[in-house]
Subunit: 352 residues, 2 copies
Amino acid sequence: MKINDLVKASGEWMNGSGPSSDIVISSRVRLARNLANCKFPLSANIEEKAEILKIISSAIERINTDKNLSIISLNDITPLERKFLVERHLISKEQEEESGQRAVAISKNESIAIMINEEDHLRLQSLQSGLQLDTTFAMLNTVDDKLSELLQFAYDDELGYLTACPTNVGTGLRASVMLHLPALAITRHLDKAFRAISKLNLAVRGLYGEGTEAHGDFYQISNQITIGRSEEDILGDLRVVIDQIVAYEKSARTNLLEKELIKIEDKIWRSLGILQNARIISSEEVMRHLSAVRLGLQIGMVKGINLTELNEIFIFSQPAHLQIMQGHELDAEHRDILRAKFVREKLKNGKN
Amino acid sequence: MKINDLVKASGEWMNGSGPSSDIVISSRVRLARNLANCKFPLSANIEEKAEILKIISSAIERINTDKNLSIISLNDITPLERKFLVERHLISKEQEEESGQRAVAISKNESIAIMINEEDHLRLQSLQSGLQLDTTFAMLNTVDDKLSELLQFAYDDELGYLTACPTNVGTGLRASVMLHLPALAITRHLDKAFRAISKLNLAVRGLYGEGTEAHGDFYQISNQITIGRSEEDILGDLRVVIDQIVAYEKSARTNLLEKELIKIEDKIWRSLGILQNARIISSEEVMRHLSAVRLGLQIGMVKGINLTELNEIFIFSQPAHLQIMQGHELDAEHRDILRAKFVREKLKNGKN
């Protein structure tokens, strides 16, 4: 697999076919794993990191009997291509910025990504559309089981899996769900919903994880605690909260449509009008309007476009994606021009 | 003529066919006249005002051999209908708010309006599309000549025509030109242009004359001095300045299109997108976006709509027009909803 193959494709999660996909964009699970008897990447030297990469790559090749996984060395691609993989949610910002030998193994439909030499030796990730934490975890668990037959993971009988950062020790599991909450945002009930979440040791973040702002009413909710509980319990607790927020957003939508229909229509159609007409547009503005158009699609107000197209705008209108599609680097102004063109083209059939 | 006839029609000036109509919306001339030996309306009592109205109406009927003029009594129509006539530029705000017997005579294509018992006994007005001060004045001069054969106007050999307010004494003439100056606004050169104007004893005002703000880069420029110069000289001086500003705006447009094409395109298309999609919209916002769309039409960027439609939006999207069209009074929110619907309908064919 090459970067160019990813430009032509789009991940499974983008098709918007999963359960509750009117509100839940995607479910993501990741497991942090480290090789026993090897230094963590941050303390390993160049040779040690190269050796770790070699060991893990070889294990991945052995479990890759159906050739579903392709390994991309992050050292063989350009900085722009690494940014592209971050935007695609296939590697982390941390891994992008890391030095030394590192790589990622990606499955054909992008549901599985295995980062090698991130903060931990291994970060296994699975990503699927809609709300399906259990199947997303099950898919990843299979990969984890196969790898653990070939690799000896750092594990402590009392603590569980050992990781570079203490916040991941135990299960090494972080499950996160990307939600679209426009009605809670419009009715200013987000704070209330999120206050409850932080009491339950869950974290709320923006579109690109830790340290990023929320744009366009898209929020990631994930577990904070990785230790002292089973994977099933962690996922179960998260699931209960997500179900509540989904119900909360649904009821806010119903209320809005009953009481503020014309204002919501105005917001949705103006956003579509701007996206269909702008000649220069920033990522942030796209996200903001995309949120309204997505709501319009979910409540059946907007026709002629589908969820896949909206999700593709999400991903492909990002800076590195635009530049890779264009074939060369672009300054901010030219990205804004190209982004506007891309968005217009994608949404041209949107109508009443 | 009834108010309902005006709802179905649109004035000659709205067809946008006059000279320089890419920049000049309309030319307007008015003459202030008073009957000799009668008190000015502000000091006349009810009976005297009724008598003045009777005398002038009778003179208008006599010159109205081709039945082109219709007299509407402002006392026989509703306050909303009076506001409608103000929005249509057929009566002044002052006449709308005046008490006592008062009327307006309007020609079929709305080029001529004769207000009776405004601040002066007579305010003769002619209004035509584009820049044609001379023909607009000539048209009005004919009416003035005919009326002066039947009515004795208050006239002083030294001062000229006598008027209620000293600022109109002399010729009683106010000529004004409505300009659309988006490029000077965008390039922030309006102040410079307007500073020169005030030195020349000309006034700059917004869309609805004295005391009104400019919306959407539409400005009225008119003479301040009415005394000590002939009508021809007053019109000539104004014409010289307007020609300069028109040239200035043209050069600003050329410059913008050369140097900032994409930004201008962005502005124009976003404005069209918003007008074609909004479900709630204020007058001010309509004006702002209409300015950009009008520029787009003038430079050949926007197709499928014409100047008449844009001018009709100007007029018909105003509060009283919307309510008269709807057949009943509406609160601000419902006007904003109806306005958005009207504008969408008018602009639905606007495209690349």
